[in-house]
């Protein structure tokens, strides 16, 4: 187990390679790039939440001097895209369904001229009724967001009905019988507002055609997905589209998926010039189809007299927004978080992904989990209170452990949930004693790992310098930077001996991208595989050179030596030089992804593949907060985190992920959250009114990693880590607030005003 104290005393293994460029400003982002003859793009948005298009007239816009192209739906192939539920087109056709929908794209010789052209586009429309409320949207008489919903070419096990884009349910045992057996039943409703990924870099896209090939520089977390989106919508083969991501200024899931690359490529093709788009902060808030979904969660749980959970029934509505983006699996994933990492024999949860006329939802860091966990864990404290049990004891009793059966019938191998609870409690107890109006709250969370295909090359050149060429994408987590450590360890070299070529789809093999906390898990496997091929070559050369048996060669400290006699050695550089005159040192790795577990008898309707969890990660956060009773202001003073993310390969990066996740979690808990007006438009789509946490708000954060060897995980038993720390923070804060207020604040974010309102409620 590693602690923060250990981290302070142990020297850092290495400084991440992209760090100096980022902090000194020499790093280049898409907005910094410029090409000869480049034009500037702007989009015309609908500006209205729901309307039938009467006319989009671009005549005046095209006539403005300096305008090179104005494109609308008719100028690109008529393709509906999005995984699972293809319900979206590049440009609005017939109907606009949210305020940030693109009607037209302009390329002009300056941003100002492009904006003038955008302003000159005539948009006439008839307003349609706005679908905003999740429950109302599910009513039989609700207006439809997609009148043609039934005609979309949906794939997989995807039950749907009108405004319900997907339905999923988890079912195990007999809930009615379980409830009948219950000694105590607790029922609660929780409502979470939507929120934003809010990366520091507003996205940019720059496209240039050479012949029939296009190169697109873009701020994407998932270059191969972006490429596939361009190929699908512009109908091009994958080898004619090259995506390059320069430095990426954060994503938090907001830059997953395929966004605006095709629009800009289409403009560049139409104008025969390079075209660049750079979003304003406001556009970054209103337009991308990646926003954290709002949710309504109803939970009813029955307890036996001994405090064990006998049955749970749940009902969930998850906001999809106007289009489905990558959210088809959200209903099922939300159900997993609302069910929680508990032993419950009888469970039934119905979960709905619901269309509205709001910005589309999509994979923001641990989608559905912070809200689902917040509801589940606030409810858990209510359960413990209902039978007078200590919340820690309640979780230890009901929480899953090694060998236990979870909510969908999965039997878990070695897992560290129980140890996480102990470690979080131990750390928070070390924080100073509670002052007046201070309390401690605690919550547990879980998150799957996502094994998948991934590739990398590693080579050593004749001077012994290494190169990793990977399809993986660095979104700021340090996961790609950590690949150097894996290659170095495999070859007995230093991380500094390796450079990394990354995020270029034409150069490197496929990787899923910076999504699902999968980079180290999958691309780490690929790099180890590739490096091992070089290690074999080196051992052969060393054996020849030193006249020793291959099996006796050890690679360490930049040398190959004969086992047992370290003085009999040759430097890896020397071996590389030898190899450089003959068969080159090149490794190509992928490795077989670990299998997902099979769960006999699993009963899931609308299975989108996120119920059976590979190498699940566990966490427990304990927080200490102070409440100002007369204003409702809550201040988080301490956060103690414990994570089972398997083996920690790069501690510096790992601690950073936990601390960042906690800060983001505090924002979701207390200050973020989107406000909508009656017109279906965001009221706080910008940093002035959308309140992210800052360092001045940051509490003390301590972290312990529970390093349990996990079968079927990534290299050395590493699971994912980037999303897990974002899961339980808001829930833990909720439980601390509930102790002070006397009841949970049933809305997320738990703003000062909402806390104050809860304080005014009469105790029943």
């Amino acid at each position: 187990m590693t602690t923060l104290e250990d981290q302070a005393s142990a020297p850092p293994r290495f400084v991440r390679a992209d760090g100096p460029a980022k902090v000194t400003g020499s790093g280049r982002y898409v907005a910094d790039l410029s090409l000869t003859g480049m034009l500037f793009a702007k989009f015309r948005y609908s500006g209205v939440a729901h309307a039938r298009i009467r006319k989009i007239d671009v005549t005046a816009a095209k006539a403005i001097p300096g305008v090179f192209a104005v494109l609308t739906a008719g100028d690109v192939p008529d393709v509906r895209y999005s995984p699972v539920i293809p319900d979206r087109t590049l440009f609005a056709k017939d109907v606009v369904r949210f305020e940030g929908e693109i009607l037209a794209a302009v390329a002009a010789n300056s941003p100002a001229v492009a904006q003038a052209a955008v302003d000159a586009i005539v948009f006439e429309y008839d307003e349609l009724p706005i679908v905003a409320d999740l429950e109302a949207a599910m009513a039989d008489d609700s207006p439809l967001v997609h009148e043609d919903w039934a005609s979309y070419a949906v794939t997989g096990d995807t039950p749907r009905d009108r405004n319900v884009a997907t339905f999923s349910s988890l079912s195990k045992g007999d809930v009615d019988a379980g409830m009948a057996e219950a000694h105590t039943i607790v029922k609660s409703r929780y409502v979470a507002d939507g929120s934003h990924a809010a990366p520091i870099e507003p996205r940019g896209v720059l496209a240039q055609w050479e012949g029939d090939k296009v190169t697109i520089w873009t701020s994407s977390q998932v270059p191969f997905d972006a490429r596939n989106g361009v190929c699908e919508t512009l109908q091009l083969p994958s080898n004619r589209v090259r995506i390059i991501v320069p430095h990426l200024g954060g994503g938090f899931g907001g830059k997953c998926g395929f966004h605006f690359e095709a629009h800009i490529a289409a403009l560049a093709r139409a104008t025969k010039r390079p075209v660049k788009l750079v979003f304003s902060r406001e556009e970054e808030f209103l337009v991308p189809d990646r926003r954290r979904e709002s949710m309504i969660i109803d939970l009813t749980t029955g307890l036996r007299a001994d405090g064990s959970i006998v049955a749970r029934r749940g009902w969930i509505a998850v906001e999809n927004g106007a289009y489905t983006a990558d959210a088809a699996f959200f209903a099922q994933l939300a159900a997993m978080h609302v069910a929680g990492p508990y032993k419950i024999d009888n469970v039934h949860i119905d979960s709905h992904l619901v269309y509205t006329n709001h910005q589309p939802s999509g994979s923001v860091r641990a989608p559905t989990a912070p809200q689902g966990c917040w509801a589940c864990e606030s409810h858990t404290d209510e359960l413990a209170a209902a039978i007078g049990m200590d919340p820690v004891e309640f979780r230890k009793k009901n929480g899953i452990h090694t060998g236990a059966t979870g909510v969908v019938g999965q039997v878990y191998d070695e897992i560290g949930l129980q140890q996480c609870i102990d470690a979080a409690v131990e750390q928070i107890d070390h924080a100073a004693a509670l002052g007046e109006d201070e309390a401690i709250g605690l919550a547990v969370g879980w998150w799957p790992s996502f094994p998948g295909p991934s590739g990398a090359y590693v080579r050593l050149d004749s001077d012994g310098a290494g190169q990793i060429v990977t399809g993986a994408q660095e979104c700021g987590t340090g996961a790609v930077m950590t690949l150097r450590q894996l290659a170095a360890d495999q070859l007995g070299m230093d991380p500094e001996d390796f450079e990394i070529i990354y995020q270029d789809t034409a150069v490197a093999p496929y990787d899923t991208g910076a999504t699902g906390s999968q980079t180290l898990l999958n691309n780490g496997r690929a790099v180890v595989d590739a490096a091992e091929q070089i290690a074999e070559q080196l051992r052969q050369h060393a054996a020849d050179h030193m006249e020793a048996a291959v099996a006796d060669i050890v690679l360490a400290d930049g040398h190959a030596h004969v086992a047992g006699s370290p003085s009999k050695n040759v430097s890896i550089a020397e071996l590389a030089e030898i190899a450089g005159g003959g068969e080159l040192l090149i490794g190509k790795g992928s490795g077989k992804p670990p299998d997902y577990p099979e769960i006999p008898g699993m009963n899931c309707v609308g299975d989108q593949g996120v119920a059976a969890w590979a190498a699940p990660q566990f966490s427990c956060h304990a927080v200490k907060v102070r409440l100002d009773r007369d204003t409702g202001v809550v201040r988080v003073l301490d956060v103690a985190c414990a994570h089972d993310s398997g083996t920690i390969i790069n501690p510096i990066a790992a601690y950073g992920q936990v601390e960042g996740g906690v800060l983001m979690g505090i924002g979701q808990a207390l200050t973020e959250g989107t406000h909508y007006g009656e017109d279906g438009k965001q009221r706080n789509g910008g940093l002035l009114e959308y309140k992210l946490q800052t360092f001045a708000d940051a509490p003390r954060i301590t972290t312990k990693f529970i390093q349990i060897p996990t079968a079927d995980a990534g290299p050395r038993g590493a699971k994912g880590l980037a999303e897990a720390p974002n899961v339980p923070t808001a829930a833990a804060i909720s439980n601390a607030i509930a102790k002070l207020v006397g009841r949970p604040v049933r809305q997320l974010p738990m703003t000062a005003e909402r806390v104050w309102n809860a304080l005014q409620e009469e105790t029943p």
């Binding site: 941003p111 100002a112 904006q115 304003s280 902060r281 406001e282 007369d630 204003t631 202001v633 207390l670 200050t671 406000h675 009221r683 706080n684 009114e689 309140k691 992210l692 946490q693 800052t694 001045a696 708000d697 703003t751 000062a752 005003e753 104050w756 309102n757």
Partner: protein, 293 residues
């Protein structure tokens, strides 16, 4: 669009030079001090000046914080950071340090000025509430000389002040009163954010411990809340007590006229006006009584 319209820019070399430029250019010209309000307004095209007159070189004439036995004089170019860090100022008018601790962040505080804050006349500007509570006087200069006006005449509505074309604010004067002190309380959504609501109080005690004079300045709960006279009337001659603060808090709430927006509902802000008035009165009195709070 997040880019200001094209404009011309000149750096003033003296206050007289700045005033001469403004006289010549009329209402097409704007002064820029710290720029932390003006530049965002220009980016949003809410302000579209054709000329910008930069007064940042005039620190010698306008950057002072001078404390005499009878008054405190603060130049229009004194920055938030200087107001935060001045120990001498904190000793006589602790409300400044209270407020500055919760205004924005170092980037804004290093450049933003007292003059800019008052002239911006945003109903959420903390220093306006501070100066209201202190009963400050504003020195306005034009080519024919100076005039001194009371704080409650300075703000004429949201984003409107008594400073006319061809004029500028040069200094704020605050009389020093014996047995007096002041305090400021604010609720913001996160560190350095604009106020959801805030209140500042300044109190002068008589020798017998009763309140000789008291004022409360409110922020972000409605326009034109300078000098809430019923509050001063209610405080005058009273023995300080929790009951008195509560009564005055109610008056503050009754005079507040906030709007519901993304910072909070009108009901919550009204409650805060009351609660924060109570807190700042309590603290100002304790300080005037010599307690170190």
């Amino acid at each position: 669009m997040q880019v200001p319209a094209p404009l011309e820019y000149e750096r003033a070399t003296s206050v007289d030079h700045a005033i001469a430029l403004m006289e010549r250019l009329g209402d097409e010209a704007r002064i820029v001090a710290g720029g932390h309000s003006l530049i965002p307004m220009m980016k949003l095209r809410l302000a579209n000046p054709e000329y910008i007159i930069d007064i940042n070189d005039l620190r010698e004439e306008l950057g002072h914080i001078t404390i005499t036995d009878s008054e405190v004089r603060i130049g229009a170019l004194a920055t938030h950071q200087e107001l935060l860090e001045s120990k001498e100022l904190a000793a006589v008018l602790p409300i400044f340090a209270d407020a500055e601790k919760v205004i924005a962040d170092p980037v804004v505080r290093n450049r933003g000025t007292l003059g800019g804050s008052l002239c911006q006349a945003d109903p959420s500007e903390d220093l306006s509430a501070v100066c209201d509570a202190l009963g400050a006087q504003c020195v306005i200069r034009n080519s024919s000389g100076e005039r001194v006006i009371e704080m409650h005449d300075f703000h004429q509505g949201p984003y409107e002040t008594a400073v006319a074309d061809g004029e500028m604010l040069t200094e704020v004067r605050i009389p020093r009163r014996p047995n007096s002190s002041s305090a400021y309380h604010k609720v913001e959504r996160r560190a350095g954010d604009w106020a959801v609501a805030s209140a500042g109080a300044a109190i002068q005690l008589a020798d017998d411990g009763t309140i000789l004079d008291g004022r409360v300045g409110l922020c972000a709960v409605g326009p034109n809340l300078t000098n809430v006279q019923p509050i001063s009337d209610a405080l005058r001659g009273q023995v300080p007590s929790e009951e008195l603060y509560a009564r005055v808090g109610e008056i503050a709430a009754a005079n507040a006229n906030p709007a519901t927006d993304t910072r909070g509902t009108a009901a919550y802000k009204t409650h805060l006006a009351k609660e924060l008035t109570i807190r700042s009165l309590r603290k100002a009195v304790a300080r005037a009584q010599g307690q170190n709070v």
